[in-house]
Symmetry: C2
Subunit: 316 residues, 2 copies
């Protein structure tokens, strides 16, 4: 029996390492996924997920998250939610409800509050400073306000061949109040079927929701394709289509994991991700876009040190 996890961006490693210890000890894909994503949500220097996430245009952190069980297709999600310390934990709880599985806005906070979940002001001092800086830049220059929209998306496979997928994000920096991307949207932001595999997306949510490519990737893996080949056939033709019709595709990145442990990614931008299998350590990779065959290399110790220094550097 193979156990494995894959997750988007360098930050996924922070969660996958403790979660793989749980899987090795016989833990379930559901619990491991929540352990992993919670760790990313809690780390204040990941500025696009959970605590420390960058706020919306009004200066408020609003989060989106989803949890899906590949054995049952049950899913739970929250969107445009405030003051929830661990969005992924609330999403998992919602997946167990007979109805009302996707809650937005004040309804999500109300559910978290009445079901014993920790509430927390998700705005860190550092994120507040970044917001103030950006606001001043936007007032003085005519900049594109949107950058920073990295979702942590993970797929987990346990020793009983159960699979889960989850996502969590604070969304687009300087987004409008209530803006939601692909991360809480099944089929677009994530999908999983334990008999086949799972996939999750990160990038510009407004573009990622134009097709159900996480669903499509799982469908294609179900025809016998490898994770890489399924992603290759699902993702790049759609990006090319948007280009051809003048719709200027923005960032698209995906991770996928099959129920036999085979994994793959697709991306049209530089993209980091983390993978662990069986008794191996969590490996962080960096992918460079290259047509439909991204170039994938392990990150170096120098890259990791520079990344950490950049995240924690004093703000100018």
């Amino acid at each position: 029996m193979t156990i494995a996890m894959i997750g988007t961006w360098r930050m996924a490693e922070t969660g996958i390492t403790p979660a793989m210890a749980e899987l090795r000890a016989g833990g379930s894909a559901g619990d491991a996924l929540v352990t992993a994503i919670k760790a990313v949500e809690d780390y204040p220097y990941y500025q696009s997920v959970g605590y420390g996430g960058l706020p919306n245009a009004a200066g408020v952190v609003e989060t989106d998250a989803a949890y899906m069980d590949g054995d049952t297709f049950r899913l739970g999600a929250i969107a445009g939610a405030r003051d929830i310390a661990n969005p992924i934990a609330v999403a998992q709880a919602l997946s167990q409800e007979p109805a009302n599985n996707l809650l937005v806005g004040t309804g999500a906070t109300e559910y978290a509050s009445t079901h014993g979940f920790q509430l927390k002001n998700m705005l860190t001092e550092r994120a507040g400073q970044k917001w103030e800086q950006k606001r001043q830049e936007l007032a003085s220059k005519n900049l594109n306000p949107y950058d920073g929209h990295d979702t942590v998306g993970m797929v987990a496979l346990d020793a009983q061949s159960r699979m889960t997928v989850g996502t969590s994000t604070s969304g687009l920096f300087m987004k409008r109040t209530g803006r939601v991307g692909d991360s809480p949207l099944p089929g677009a932001g994530y999908y999983v079927d334990s008999t086949i595999g799972g996939a999750a997306a990160t990038g510009m949510g407004e573009d990622l929701m134009k097709a159900s490519l996480s669903y499509e990737t799982v469908r294609l893996m179900g025809t016998g394709l490898s994770a890489s080949e399924a992603l290759r056939q699902a993702v790049y033709p759609f990006i090319d289509r948007l280009t051809k019709i003048g719709q200027h595709p923005r960032e698209f990145s995906y991770v996928a994991l099959r129920q036999d442990g085979d994994w793959g990614i697709a991306t049209n931008v530089e993209f980091t991700f983390a993978v662990a299998q069986d008794d191996g350590a969590t490996q962080i990779y960096i992918a460079q876009p290259n047509g439909d065959q991204p170039d994938i290399q392990p990150v170096t110790a120098e890259w990791l040190a520079a990344d950490k220094a950049r995240r924690q550097a004093p703000l100018a």
Copy 2:
């Protein structure tokens, strides 16, 4: 050139008839779709869409809507939105924005308010009375609170072969605050590609979002299948799968339209819908579930009269 529209439930006819007049006069699929869905939203006796929609558990009407352009894949949507007179019009406007295309909760109302859309208390006296009755029933008996969750979903095809799809609903009666179903979710609640066709869903949103079957239907039509055959291959195997794994599928109904005017439906419950093509009148049909081959008949004048009387009957 064929022009055509299809929409879910008997209520679709109220919108399709005036919208087809626009299409015959050379109007666009986008404008016709909005005309059609607005008419349904405005009619106070359709108790699951727009004005007159049944409220949530807190007694407030919250609406979900989406608009998608099959030429560009641009889409806009709102979810868990209050006080917006015509959700579909706001969804269409959001589809034109470069980002922030899906807005939930107070953010949706704020956008509508600052962009000149009509605000309106969507609770009618009749809907308020139904809510009060239901609340008393629930207090006295242990009833399932959830019934009434019919989305109007439509696909339009204009004389320039442009296609659009849209949805609008007040969601599940007695839902939790902030509960959102499949209607604003691309791929699940709706999908359209003008080179192929479009599809839209209605039923129990919590189940409909477990797979991207509107997307899958469009994909299958793209392989050359008829609308009926694409729906047959997309929808029923997934319903059977949920049954086999003990997940008790609830209501699933879909309409689909190809770019050559061919249409179809799939359903596992009694389901009405409306279709119009070229110079023909709008026809309302009633479908009875029958394995994967629903039995479809035009509704009779008696059925229509009884339906109208029921909708407008004084509340007991």
